[in-house]
């Protein structure tokens, strides 16, 4: 499968972007269309501890309890459309026939029933687990201990064949280097890990997913960089955290978006996965629908852009919540209430032709809450998209350009504008700009440099990336 790199923007200007609309809407599932004028709530969940005990207990948890609760609540509140996301747990990728198949099939069967009875638009995203371990080998034939690469691909097939509407994954290529780099604030290492190695790994993985999707007449959604940029964001945290500076996290997000784009370049149609916050950038480039999460995904993690990130979403997600009882119902029902109502608000704004205004309110609320929020504001996201497409054919240069552009945007605004940085964030920003500026202009030189510098990083094996 040929990879078609993005070398120009699908959107002509930032202002064209708004939630609930994308250049290339996608239809799938049971009457579902995403990106064509309606924001759809996407509800994610995790089983209770112990549910994984055996295949039947897991099926019951996912189907009889979680899926049923969600569908009932959607009808109860009058939501016209809902997407479910099931993030596969380890057992489901390790023994897909045994653990995943009954879940995938059972969910779809129940959804079909509600679709038939109530005419509610429904779809389900299956996010396959990526269990591959760099230390054992990322490609087929390399991991003699667990055969994870083979199992990973097989589990995608099982999902596609048994009822998934949308296939996604948070692939982990290059993570071993990024993990090392993040703890040392080494932006070059991070760029190498995610921007470069991650893009190579995705170019291996995603054509296979797209093929499987095509064969089964379902959709290949997209990837997000949970493994990298979300880890940065998570560790950078909020105003009480001191693990890593938020300027570093912001720049890694920009770099990650150059990587996340690869799924779509391999033929995936979107909607992109929630979980990552690269959506505004990749949507600006490719015009495909994205799922985003923010203020209503605090069940899963806090962020510093809870409203802003809704600005250009097509699905609005809660990221994930453990299934358990609350006063208001089960946890999935409660969070569905929040995301469903937020989606309804956005849809009202669309109907009243006030969507761009609401978008701007979302954006303005958090524009200066953190550097990451700032670079993801749709105008800045667009600029980062431009930097990526300018070097669209070179996975190294485009990731670097994304990083530098983000860093410069932050720098300029912190000097002349309203974005305030702590001293430590400023120091880090200066170091990032210096480090990135010092990098060579050629891929081969960069790779040589990095292979040398990171050869002792635990678990890093260049053969995983054909290097």
């Amino acid at each position: 499968m040929a990879i078609r790199r993005y070398t120009k923007m699908e959107y002509g200007s930032p202002d064209e972007m708004v939630f609930g609309e994308s250049k290339y809407p996608v239809s799938y599932g049971l009457g579902q269309t995403v990106g064509a004028g309606v924001v759809v709530p996407e509800i994610n969940f995790a089983p209770r501890p112990g549910a994984e005990k055996n295949p039947e207990s897991l099926r019951r948890e996912y189907v009889d309890y979680i899926t049923k609760d969600i569908l009932d609540r959607a009808i109860t509140l009058g939501f016209p459309t809902v997407q479910l996301e099931n993030e596969h747990i380890f057992q489901m990728v390790n023994e897909p026939e045994k653990y995943a198949k009954p879940v995938v099939a059972g969910q779809k069967e129940l959804m079909q029933k509600y679709y038939d009875e109530h005419d509610i638009a429904l779809s389900i995203r299956h996010t396959l687990a990526d269990p591959r371990l760099a230390e054992e080998g990322l490609r087929p034939g390399m991991d003699n201990k667990h055969s994870y690469p083979e199992k990973c691909i097989h589990s995608i097939e099982v999902a596609a064949e048994n009822g998934a509407d949308l296939l996604s994954i948070e692939s982990t290529g290059g993570k071993e280097v990024a993990d090392y780099a993040i703890l040392r604030q080494d932006i070059r290492g991070w760029l190498f890990g995610i921007g470069y190695l991650g893009s190579i790994d995705m170019a291996w993985l995603w054509p296979q997913i797209v093929d499987i999707a095509k064969k089964n007449k379902v959709r290949a959604g997209g990837d997000t960089n949970c493994a990298g940029a979300n880890t940065s964001m998570f560790m950078a945290g909020g105003y009480l955290d001191r693990d890593i500076p938020r300027t570093f996290a912001a720049v890694t997000r920009a770099i990650a978006s150059a990587r996340t784009l690869v799924a779509w370049e391999c033929g995936a149609t979107g909607p992109d996965k929630d979980c990552g916050y690269e959506g505004p950038i990749v949507k600006a480039i490719a015009g495909k629908p994205t799922s985003q999460e923010g203020k209503d995904s605090h069940c899963a993690h806090a962020d510093l852009m809870g409203n802003l990130i809704a600005q250009t979403c097509d699905l609005w997600s809660n990221e994930s919540v453990e299934y358990h009882p609350e006063f208001g119902g089960s946890s999935v029902q409660c969070w569905l209430g929040s995301i469903g109502y937020e989606a309804a608000l956005m849809n009202t704004a669309k109907q009243l032709k006030q969507d761009k205004l609401l978008r701007d309110l979302y954006m303005a609320t958090d524009r200066y809450r953190s550097p990451e929020a700032f670079i993801l504001a749709y105008d800045n996201a667009y600029k980062i998209g431009l930097a990526i497409t300018e070097h669209g054919n070179d996975i190294y240069l485009r990731a670097k350009a994304a990083g530098i552009t983000a860093a410069r945007l932050i720098e300029d605004e912190s000097k002349a504008g309203k974005l305030r940085l702590s001293k430590h964030e400023q120091d880090m920003l200066r170091k990032i700009i210096t480090d990135l500026s010092a990098l060579p202009d050629e891929e081969s030189k960069f790779v040589d440099q990095c292979l040398k510098a990171y050869k002792d990083v635990p678990m890093f094996n260049p053969r995983n990336y054909d290097l």
């Binding site: 009889d64 016209p80 109530h118 309804a344 669309k350 109907q351 009243l352 032709k353």
Partner: protein
């Protein structure tokens, strides 16, 4: 205010309730289900259509042809069965059930006054709301449904001390004891009650319900059987008088409670 004329509300919300409305009428369903005999039929219809005013006269008329036991079983309770069915199908709402139950109650009282001994009911249930907890609506609904399904209910009310529950159970010797708790800080009374009952050798099912508790919690102590909805009360009770103990109820819980939602 913004002008809402142009809004397509179907893209914002969907009125599933209206879409689901039953096409069937109570009259149609009742016509199929009430007894054929014209005298008993009138009694049953008084319950189904909540005719609090005529029920007395019709019961008196029926008592001329039938024994009080028959008027209850084949007239009044039959009517209540129809009500349950109408509720189950979404044609009736809860208040219909409550008002129908009031009508039935009136008829039952009348019949009982004509009986020789005490009426034999399906079983006896002691009900209460946990100590410190004032939330009693759910318990009240459940009590009405149990009564209208032929059970004798000893309603201890709300904010009931643990010791009182235990004493009443010892004294009344019911088939079932129930507890309702809507607060996480009152429900801890239930395991204590269960322990004390067991210590006294009482092994009847202890149906626990109310917003605060869930199945896992209720099944974490002996005797406990969870109920999510008041309508499950009669379902569980019927099994109990059929001989199910609390362990067997737990095992079959998913199946039993799926019957009616």
């Amino acid at each position: 205010m913004l002008d809402l004329k142009s809004v397509n509300f179907d893209r914002i919300l969907k009125r599933y309730d209206i879409q689901m409305e039953s096409k069937e009428s109570p009259e149609e369903l009742a016509a199929r289900m009430v007894p054929k005999d014209p005298t008993l039929r009138k009694v049953a219809e008084d319950v189904v259509f909540m005719r609090y005013k005529t029920v007395n006269d019709n019961v008196i008329a029926a008592l001329k042809e039938y024994s009080p036991e028959d008027v209850i079983e084949r007239g009044l309770i039959k009517g209540m069965d129809v009500v349950g069915e109408l509720y189950g199908r979404g044609i009736y709402y809860l208040p219909h059930v409550m008002v129908a139950a009031d009508a039935m109650d009136k008829g039952v009282k009348l019949c009982e006054s004509k009986m020789k001994g005490v009426r034999e009911t399906r079983g006896k249930v002691v009900m209460h709301v946990a100590e410190g907890d004032p939330h009693d609506i759910g318990k009240n609904i459940a009590a009405v449904l149990l009564k209208s399904n032929g059970y004798t209910v000893v309603d201890m009310g709300r904010d009931v001390a643990i010791a009182d529950v235990v004493t009443t159970v010892e004294h009344e010797k019911p088939h079932i004891v129930t507890g309702t708790a809507l607060m996480t800080t009152t429900m801890s009374a239930f395991p204590k009650i269960a322990d004390k009952l067991q210590a006294k050798g009482v092994n009847i099912p202890f149906i626990c319900a109310g917003g605060a508790v869930n199945r896992a919690y209720v099944e974490s102590y002996p005797l406990g059987v969870f109920a999510a909805k008041a309508i499950q009360g009669p379902v569980l009770a019927n099994k109990i008088v059929d001989g199910y103990d609390w362990r067997k109820l737990r095992e079959n819980w998913d199946k039993l409670t799926a019957v009616k939602e």
